[in-house]
């Protein structure tokens, strides 16, 4: 029944845009929540009859969909982040019409992301990346704030570059494989691994994905897009969209399709370590809440790529686990920034202070997310970083491991700077009457914080039952 992941949102979009009157926005919210929470539940409880039921729609459409353990992790993250983003949107957007627009676009993005993680064809991959990308352009700009329009435009320009690269790469690969399915492309790469055209095509594809994932030096669009987007869109974008569009596809292609061609692992590690360092250093001196988070996102994505480039099963498992953790803690941080932005009307951390006493939930959850980002136990991020660093050490990349640990300190420094300037310190006079953000922001923040701590504390149980199988499928 994998096609339901695509068809149900599509059905929702159609139903929401039929010309009828009524409380469309509430219905829409409930529907999208149902879909995203359902998606998470289907993964967590893993009902066998759902996953193994023959695809009813397959008789009518030829949808070559496929789910393995890596896909399940992503489907779970998509479900969690999507529900958090929709709730935040509900709190931050007050107009009924804008809410409806947001949900429509969120559904499009949901189709795009679900399609991206489920499909098994390199051309379909391009199509669904475009679906995801277009929905995110519009999402960034949809409140027509001037900054947001600029951010969206930067994203469009660099994304178009990425698209051109990937499309040419697909064309070049098609020359050899004669088919665009993962299996035949993989076979063609294996048979012609010494051909410069193949190398060129793979390079183009990987660079396109670097742009999509926002890795240094391909990251130009990312800070502007993340920080200018409306609060709820930032959650969605930083939490999951770029991770699916860039990082998931990179993991899938590099491990599953291209294999360790040429110097690809070295390149991944170099790009990863540069992203880690540059992202963290850049975040250090920013004074905009969301910009810090955006640069931090670049840095954390670097860790994922580093783990992937390391090549050992432990490194890949760590990368996938960090991908999941990153989607949780980065969404939580953006939810907190949404709460602060909603209550104070600003994201400049120098203008704030002492909000901790007034906004206890945001304060606590932000601290938990900070710990997870910097890799401090018992938060979940500690374990994934540990796995990546151990994998690096085991494979002899001692310098990389050392840098990865050092940058963790910088990570803690800039995130604690947020904590100190926003939540601790003295409350400015103009913020005296501030209150905790509404329930629809507090609820997802609390849930995400619980997930972080829960995953962190029960990691030893998850390790054998969840993570080892995830990396095993690469063997």
């Amino acid at each position: 029944m994998l096609s339901l992941f695509l068809l149900l949102p599509l059905l929702g979009i159609i139903a929401l845009n039929l010309p009828y009157k009524g409380k469309k926005d509430t219905v829409a919210l409930l529907y999208v929540l149902l879909l995203s929470v359902g998606q998470a539940i289907v993964v967590l409880f893993h009902p066998a009859n759902f996953w193994h039921m023959p695809d009813f729609w397959g008789r009518f459409f030829h949808l070559a969909l496929y789910a393995d353990n890596l896909t399940l992790v992503l489907i779970l993250s998509i479900g969690i982040v999507m529900s958090a983003a929709v709730l935040v949107a509900w709190q931050t957007i007050s107009e009924s019409k804008s809410r409806l627009n947001f949900i429509n676009l969120a559904l499009v993005a949901l189709i795009g992301m679900n399609g991206t993680v489920l499909l098994t064809d390199i051309f379909s991959l391009y199509v669904f990346l475009e679906v995801t990308a277009i929905s995110s352009f519009i999402l960034i700009a949809f409140q027509r704030d001037l900054n947001a329009l600029e951010g969206a435009f930067k994203y469009i320009v660099l994304s178009a570059l990425a698209t051109i690269m990937m499309l040419s790469a697909i064309a070049a690969l098609l020359l050899f494989s004669g088919d665009t399915s993962f299996a035949s492309v993989s076979q063609a790469v294996k048979n012609n691994c010494c051909n410069p055209i193949i190398i060129f095509a793979i390079t183009l594809f990987v660079c396109g994905l670097f742009i999509k994932g926002g890795l240094v030096p391909f990251h130009g669009w990312l800070p502007a897009a993340y920080s200018a987007a409306p609060a709820a869109v930032s959650v969605l974008l930083a939490g999951i969209v770029t991770k699916v569009a860039g990082i998931y596809v990179l993991i899938r292609l590099v491990r599953d399709v291209f294999g360790p061609v040429g110097a690809i692992n070295d390149i991944l590690m170099i790009v990863g370590i540069i992203s880690i360092i540059i992202g963290a250093l850049a975040a250090l001196k920013q004074d905009d809440f969301k910009k810090i988070l955006a640069y931090s996102s670049i840095s954390q994505v670097g860790y994922i790529i580093l783990g992937l480039g390391c090549g050992s099963p432990l490194g890949i498992a760590g990368a996938i686990f960090h991908l999941f953790n990153h989607s949780i803690f980065k969404s939580l941080l953006f939810v907190n920034s949404a709460a602060v932005e909603k209550q104070t009307g600003s994201t400049d951390i120098n203008k704030m202070g002492g909000l901790g006493a007034k906004m206890p939930f945001s304060n606590a959850s932000c601290l938990i997310a900070t710990f997870s980002t910097a890799g401090i136990p018992p938060a979940a991020g500690f374990w994934s970083k540990l796995m990546i660093i151990i994998a690096l050490w085991q494979n002899g990349y001692h310098a990389y491991a050392a840098v990865a640990i050092l940058v963790s300190v910088i990570t803690l420094a800039y995130l604690l700077a947020i904590q100190r300037k926003v939540f601790f310190g003295i409350l400015p006079d103009e913020l005296k009457n501030i209150k905790e953000a509404g329930i629809w922001i507090v609820l997802p923040a609390a849930t995400l914080a619980i997930i972080i701590i829960g995953v962190g504390v029960f990691f030893p149980f998850l390790f054998n039952s969840f993570l080892v199988p995830v990396s095993n499928f690469f063997k």
């Binding site: 030829h62 499009v108 064809d121 379909s124 669904f128 027509r144 004669g178």
Partner: protein
């Protein structure tokens, strides 16, 4: 072969025009013409379904979306046009040169010989089957169009109403 070359030349010319023209409307028309020529090329290369799809989606639907978007924008004056033309020429004069040089270089290099590409990679009827099997991509295209429509409605139509 000659006809193909003529068609490709036309394709590149119309694409250049699309990129370099100042008025949005003309640019959109140029895009539609490019798509149409591309469809002819695909038809000649024995991919009728691809051609039909290109014609319907790119030349038809996207053109319609562009036109509807452009109708909500404001007009610009003739002085502005002259100014912009100068700017654009200054910025894009290299583009035709690069295209021409690239064309010459590419026709002179024998890729098949150098990189030993497979000689006859794809059979014709395989292509047809390929297109029949590509329902997932069709679904994706439909969703892209939906998204584009949302974009136009949200970013342009509602803006105008404000």
């Amino acid at each position: 072969m000659t006809i193909n070359i003529i068609i490709i030349t036309a394709l590149v010319t119309s694409a250049l025009w699309t990129a370099m023209t100042v008025r949005l409307l003309r640019s959109a028309v140029g895009l539609a013409i490019t798509s149409a020529i591309l469809a002819i090329l695909m038809f000649r290369l024995c991919s009728p379904i691809a051609a039909v799809f290109e014609l319907s989606v790119c030349a038809g639907l996207i053109f319609a979306i562009f036109i509807s978007a452009i109708t909500v924008t404001g007009r610009i004056t003739n002085e502005q046009i002259v100014l912009k033309k100068k700017l654009r020429l200054r910025r894009f004069w290299l583009l035709p040169v690069i295209v021409i040089i690239a064309a010459i270089v590419l026709t002179q290099i024998h890729f098949h010989a150098i990189f030993n590409l497979p000689a006859q990679p794809v059979e014709n009827n395989v292509k047809i089957i390929l297109w029949n099997m590509r329902h997932l991509d069709l679904l994706g295209q439909v969703v892209i169009l939906l998204a584009g429509a949302f974009g136009v409605v949200i970013l342009f139509k509602e803006w105008k109403n404000d």
